[in-house]
Amino acid sequence: MTAPLRAGLSIRNMSKTYPAQVALRRVDLDVAAGQVHALLGQNGSGKSTLIKALAGYHRPDPGAAAWLNGEQFELGSSVAAHAAGVRFVHQDLGLVGELDVIDNLALGGSFEGRRWLSNRREAAAARRVLEPYGLDIDVRMPVRDCSPAQRAIVAIARALRGGLPGEGLLVLDEPTATLPEREVRLLFSAIRSICAQGTAVLYVTHRLGEVFELAETVTVLRDGVAVASMPVAETTPDEVVTHIAGRALDQLYPPAPPPRAEIAVEVIDLGGQELNGVSFSLHSGEILGVAGITGSGRDELNPLLFGSAAVRTGRVRVRGHEHRPSPAASIRAGLGYLPADRRTLSAIPAHSVRENVTLPALGAPALGWLGNRHQAADVQPWLRRLQVQPADPERPFATLSGGNQQKSVLARWLRAGSSVLLLDEPTQGVDVGGKRAIYDALGAAARGGAAVLMTSTDAEELAEVCDRVLVLRGGRLAAVLVGAALSADAIVAESLREEVPA
């Protein structure tokens, strides 16, 4: 074990084990004072766990230690982390849109003044706080009306306020995820000015281009392990991508089923909030993957097709018929949707598995009799087929594990006779065994003639499970990867490509 840094953050031997999985495995990390250190990795690689452990939201497994500027502080305690000088700006920034800049800066500790809060003095104090970041805005403006970069800077200024010029650590969790390109420059110059004062910055991102523009050092996490840590000057985007995607392919993935000629869904010039004029065809018997970073339109595609988000432009044809998306019409047309948010969208947690599985196809006229026993007998074979454990239709949905919840929702749509399955992150938070069962179920459905459209943040999964992968970038279809061109590296590279400076 190397000695902790004298100036900056050092973490040694940080592990975090959850009941079903190991999220972090003996991670060491050094963030030097006055530098930007980028932290990269796919979703599920352990980035958020590491940040949350640092923030004191999670307590890491025993044996972990952390130092800031040579002083050790307790991990797993938000108070200790704060006292040591660790500050966080999370992705959602934590600002209140209705309040003005002054009040947002004052959240979590008001400005000077004992009894009387003077508006004028507060405004002056707020301007002083923002000045070092080169941000000259009307501090009485509601934060809602600020530009995204201004909001990010206000959040950073608040985190560092009353603070630690020349010391401490600032953790930025994907601050640019929702920022337009030109706004990013503004934020970067603010970050550079913070570093110039000696603050260490840990910068979590998905965007490769930013790493090479802003950071001095980069660490890549994969499956909870820090697989690489190196100076940015000594590496290349290709090398970093290789580290992110990894190569370890085990027996997890079944072969992708071959597509048929028949077109199940034809999408023409589809557009919504994020998505902007995307066209493609989904064939019967095919598992089509969709990749893209957050904000690329990936998360919007299935809601648009299923009709739970508003279609702005374009047309959808299902088996040759014009389709006007709405959930009820989609179900009639043979579409089934598995949303990423299991807690609130894909099922009703308090109701039984039987009720959740039968809900879209109750099999009786509106006022016809529904017998619970009869329905349970109807549902059970489907639960068995999808290896739902336990195959008990009367169990409350909420008591199933993540993988079994996903399998139950798949059972719902297969039972309803859906021939087009729209899936968002079907294996998110599912353990390895559960993943395999889901892949097998999808493969069986596809070989039976169903068309499967699957979005995922796991490039490796898409590369292995799918026959074809669409990569979205900035709301447009950036690439279609198929055959030899289809690999996890290619998916990651295409997802991020424009961000990498030429």
Binding site: Y18, P19, Q21, A23, N43, G44, S45, G46, K47, S48, T49, L50, K52, Y57, H58, F306, S308, P327, A328, S330, I331, R332, Y337, P339, T344, L345, S346, A347, I348, P349, A350, H351, E355, T358, L359, P360, L362, A364, P365, A366, L367, G368, W369, L370, G371, N372, R373, A376, A377, Q380, P390, A391, D392, P393, E394, R395, P396, A398, T399, G429
Partner: protein, 361 residues
């Protein structure tokens, strides 16, 4: 009510087939730990206690008939409210809808010489309209149902006051109308038979038809229900119209029973009905609004109140009893839903040390 909390009052949970692999966790969701029929034990306890305390007045046919007859009207409105609450629609206007309906019906017969049958039809139409208007603001405009029905409640009260010149009784109703509530075939008040019919239909529709299933899905998770193809807006409309129509029917029946339209009769139902509906969620199908549990809850509350009245309690005892029962019932339902432990009270004490839900990156 303390008996309800007794964790030893377990009841077995029926499993159709397939042995439940882990009984502990399959019992977990819902307030199974209260015992699905614990209300029956409490009811029996009430009867025994009052039977010993005031045997001369309590253990009589008159008391039985009075409980059954009085609660019929409450029961019919409560079934309506159970439909609304199942769909996630909170209706505060049903009580004034009930009161106004009695007034409208009597006013039509007395001041406009409308025959009773037509008066009843018009009144029911008004009740359904109230539900439809509530639903319009909730579904189409997107206003919170508590706010809409609170406002509606005030509007209905104003109309009531206008029609009765500031709250005067409308008396002298035709006997062909009051006959609606007076017969006692085989000694059973006819109102109780109406309640029986309403309860059977309500149970069938809410618990054993696709409509009922979609209604419950709407209340338990509107967005998930919509993604499963349920027209949640239509379900909310239906729910508001059921409670509107049944409140109106209850208003007509109570007017026939009393023989006069009493303008301020509605407000007395507000609390009792909510208390019964929520207490009902701890019974028979724990964690759900259900008809059987609701009927059990109604008679449980009514028996409790009746005994106290016969034992010499003052008029305020009813309000106090129903108020306490409402808070207790909702508390039990809430604890039951969250609780993984056998005893909701233990859970209450332990709640402070809750662990943050596990999150993975």
């Amino acid at each position: 009510m303390s008996e309800v909390l007794d964790p030893t009052l377990f009841a077995d949970r029926r499993d159709d087939d397939a042995p439940a692999p882990t009984p502990r966790s399959s019992r977990r969701a819902g307030a199974a730990q209260l015992g699905r029929f614990s209300g029956v034990y409490v009811l029996v306890a009430f009867i025994i206690a009052y039977g010993i305390w005031v045997p001369k007045t309590f253990l009589t046919t008159t008391t039985l008939q009075s409980i059954i007859g009085d609660q019929a009207v409450t029961g019919i409105v409560t079934i309506g409210l159970v439909f609304a609450l199942s769909a996630g629609a909170f209706d505060l206007s049903f009580a004034n809808n009930l009161g106004l309906s009695g007034v409208i019906c009597a006013d039509l017969m007395l001041n406009h010489q409308v025959n009773p049958a037509l008066a009843i039809v018009i009144t029911l139409a008004c009740g359904l309209l109230v539900g439809a208007v509530n639903a319009f603001f909730v579904v189409r405009v997107g206003v919170n149902s508590i706010v809409v029905t609170l406002g509606m409640s005030s509007v209905l009260s104003a109309l009531n006051s206008k029609l009765t010149n500031g709250g005067q009784y409308l008396t002298g109703l035709p006997s062909s109308f009051t006959k609606l509530a007076s017969p006692k075939p085989w000694g059973v008040p006819v109102l109780a038979l109406y309640l029986l019919v309403a309860a059977v239909i309500g149970w069938y529709v809410l618990e054993h038809t696709p409509v009922g299933r979609r209604l419950q899905a709407t209340g338990a998770g509107a967005e998930a229900a919509r993604l499963a193809g349920v027209s949640t807006g239509r379900m909310t409309l239906l729910a508001f119209m059921v409670v509107g129509g049944l409140s109106s029917l209850a208003g007509i029946l109570v007017t026939a029973q009393v023989g006069a339209a009493t303008p301020d009769i509605g407000s007395g139902y507000l609390l009792a009905v909510f208390a019964a509906a929520y207490l009902g969620t701890t019974q028979i199908k724990p964690g759900r609004f259900n008809i059987g549990g609701t009927i059990l809850a109604i008679f449980l509350l009514a028996t409790g109140v009746k005994g106290l009245q016969l034992g010499g309690g003052q008029a305020w005892i009813t309000d106090a009893f129903n108020g306490v029962a409402l808070i207790l019932a909702v508390s039990l339902a809430t604890l039951g839903q969250r609780s993984g432990t056998a005893n909701p009270l233990a859970r209450l004490v332990r709640r402070r040390g809750a662990v943050p839900r596990s999150e993975q990156s």
